[in-house]
Symmetry: C2
């Protein structure tokens, strides 16, 4: 399998190595012309990779050798968190020019990383048109349509012909984020239709746009959540989606490449939350900031764990008499935690992908209850037999088996119920992390286990 890969893939990596070595040589020679020739031939993503690997000294040379629009291409391909430092080390006037050359949505994302003071000064020295566009976008809340849209779209009129539209497109093609959809506006800038470039290409030159445009427009409100928008892209296979205000004025468009980033971001977030990390960890974070992101949950869980401990403390008498009971505490609590986490993951993921909109949430709760009974019964019977043969104590086996069964049933129901309830109250269900559900289920299982043990003490 590996050998068949000796094609474009490896060639590409080799090419990158070769290119980047060449570019480095030109930098070392301080040869601007040569640098521009080799560097600008690379894909902007590769340019960004190269840029990222450079020392501050080399970066300073690159700032001097590139035009603002060329550096803008590099900057939009760098991880957002890292751009801050780069912009702060550039000459402010040059940085402002770079900002004005970036697609407005990317510029806004980057500016959102900076201190307010810096943002204001950049906006002041920036080209006025670009500054206005950015100021406009800066108002939109994070993670809404407004924050991920761009204003670089192609708009045409209903009364234009295909030929006129194509000519207009040729002019706009360089700066527009997508030319594959053209948005048809009325005189009031309201969105009335959409034409795909595909439709344009296959129509004759003199056809009116009004005849071929689709009026069956799917548009999103500027305040719409980005996760829902990602789902629409997935369902309807869009390449771009228009964003409108409450009067259907076209404000901008969202393109599929930004949606790929949104999906990655949302998946990482959900994943981190399931593991009990408030914010997604970055590989560049140092240990202190990584610890800061994890400690909130850990401390909450510590106190919840103390509560579990004090619960067990209530049964100290039982424990004093039958010390062997302690042996099975982690097993029972662990199994409750595990089955609860499974149920939680199914429910949260189902809610996130919208899978339950049709099938119904009540149905899921019933199914989870039944699933809990099946898994609980299987695990309970297995453990009863194992303990019976190991400890030669039938009653202990049954006690642990029944406790595990009951704990799994309750934990499974809790695991699916908690995110459903959160969703009902419009709280993001992904906040219900695995460790949180696990600790709740620790408490439930300890109560079940020691409750049963204390009740049937006489038989132990």
């Amino acid at each position: 399998m590996e050998e068949t890969n000796a094609n474009y893939e490896e060639q590409y990596e080799e090419k990158y190595k070769e290119y980047s070595e060449n570019v480095l040589t030109t930098l070392n020679n301080k040869d601007m012309d040569e640098f521009r020739e080799v560097f600008l031939e690379m894909h902007p993503y590769d340019q960004a990779m190269f840029f990222n690997e450079q020392s501050k000294e080399n970066r300073m040379l690159i700032y001097a050798y590139l035009a603002p629009n060329e550096l803008a291409d590099v900057m939009i391909n760098i991880e957002l968190e890292e751009t801050k430092g780069f912009f702060m080390e550039m000459d402010p006037r040059f940085a402002a020019m770079v900002f004005s050359q970036m697609p407005a949505d990317d510029a806004v994302d980057t500016l959102n990383q900076l201190d307010k003071d810096a943002v204001v000064s950049f906006l002041t020295i920036m080209d006025k048109d670009a500054a206005n566009e950015i100021k406009h976008l800066l108002h939109y809340e994070e993670k809404t349509a407004g924050s991920i849209m761009t204003t670089e779209y192609v708009a045409i009129l209903k009364s234009q012909t295909v030929n006129e539209a194509l000519l207009h497109l040729k002019q706009k093609a360089q700066e527009a984020e997508t030319i594959y959809y053209l948005y048809v506006l009325d005189d009031d800038k309201r969105l009335v239709g959409v034409v795909s470039l595909r439709d344009l290409i296959i129509s004759s030159d003199s056809t009116l746009i009004g005849e071929i445009m689709s009026e069956n427009i799917v548009a999103v409100s500027v305040a719409r959540d980005q996760e829902e928008i990602a789902q629409m892209f997935r369902d309807y296979d869009f390449l771009a989606l228009p964003v409108v205000d409450f009067q259907d004025h076209l404000l901008g468009i969202i393109t599929v490449d930004d949606i790929l980033d949104v999906m990655e971001e949302e998946a990482s977030e959900d994943y981190s939350k399931l593991a009990g990390i408030s914010e997604t960890d970055r590989p560049n974070d140092n240990a202190f900031s990584a610890a800061k992101k994890r400690l909130p949950w850990l401390v909450i869980l510590l106190f919840m764990g103390m509560f579990t401990a004090s619960l067990i403390g209530q049964f100290e008498q039982t424990l004093d008499q039958v010390a062997v009971l302690a042996i099975f505490i982690p097993l029972i609590a662990g199994m409750a935690g595990n089955s609860g986490t499974q149920a939680l993951a199914v429910a949260v993921r189902g809610l996130a992908t919208g899978d339950y909109e049709n099938t119904g949430k009540i149905k899921l709760i019933f199914r989870e209850t039944a699933t809990g009974f099946i898994t609980g019964t299987v695990c309970g019977i297995v453990i009863s037999f194992v303990i019976f043969f190991w400890k030669d104590d039938l009653f202990l086996g049954i006690l642990v088996g029944v406790s595990i069964m009951a704990s799994i049933v309750v934990a499974t129901i809790a695991g699916s119920l908690v995110p459903m309830i959160m969703d009902r109250f419009n709280i993001d269900p992904a906040v219900a992390s695995g460790p949180f559900i696990t600790t709740i289920n620790d408490i439930i299982s300890v109560l079940i286990y020691f409750g049963l043990a204390t009740t049937f003490m006489a038989y132990l």
Copy 2:
């Protein structure tokens, strides 16, 4: 916020309701012409939603009223798992025609859901060209480039002019999956360049393709893993990517709409695995198949838990003498599990998104060790004080505090080390589920806690 949404979004939902009611009326009236008129005006995704809601009786009417290519549009918008039943209830000849009208990659995905017998019979009665294309794609392994690519692309020659290419495009535009990239082949069908429709639009008619094509092609090998391909789309903002064999022959293309599905699928899978579910649960699964997907991990964890229990059993003497020790078992094991899961999630997600390729894995292990020391020290000090004030027992407080600190440090290192090692041996690190790490960390923490307790027994 909610009120500003009274625009296209709500209109769209209302429109869907209105449309679907109209369509339903035409079905009830058995009015084929009216049905076709209203139904075919809906977006294929909405058609699929409507189709999905129908009784078998109504579905039979729909099969009779629609042409194979029209039904194909509906079928590619239905969840893969559900299509099986629909194709099996159609007349086999009609079903075969529908398959031959579907994009080949979607047809293959659907056929992969069916029994081998059914696949063979469909392929036999199908249109020969379509059957050959599908047979060809059926050979590719699941989750590789080959399995998600389509063969409906537009190929041109280096020697053609822009005008000739545009004319060729007009002919192919209807059936091609994307017309936004045109692939340039040599006489031997080898990929030598790519031209975007954008480049074509802005060039003059008589320009040669060879002059405007980009030779800096990014292509993937047919055996490449789909997750890596998704990452390339995200990094390079592609709308489509060519797939080649080891001699650079163009075999097909992958389009961004399929990548959105891949990303969703991979995110769901990673998420499920973190929670210890072998396969992603489906909302339509019944309780038995849901239980079947969860039991493997649960039973493994049950036996691992038994091992933990037998370990604690080794310390029964210690427990008999100081029963209060048992109270803190779930707390210490729980904290180890929680911090281990956090570290695991960071490492797995980082590996999945390729974030560590540049920064280095060794560096991460060091950072995690430092993070573990910080979180462990904080939690250890907090718990020592709480226990000291609660139980008025300084030594017990220190014992639990030190145990928690040591457990968190070891668990954090284990949480990041295990996925790194798995990745090293080319095992998908996402397989290392949270519950698995949690149970390993249970064992480690119990050993630390009882080891310390037994050693310093005299002070308790």
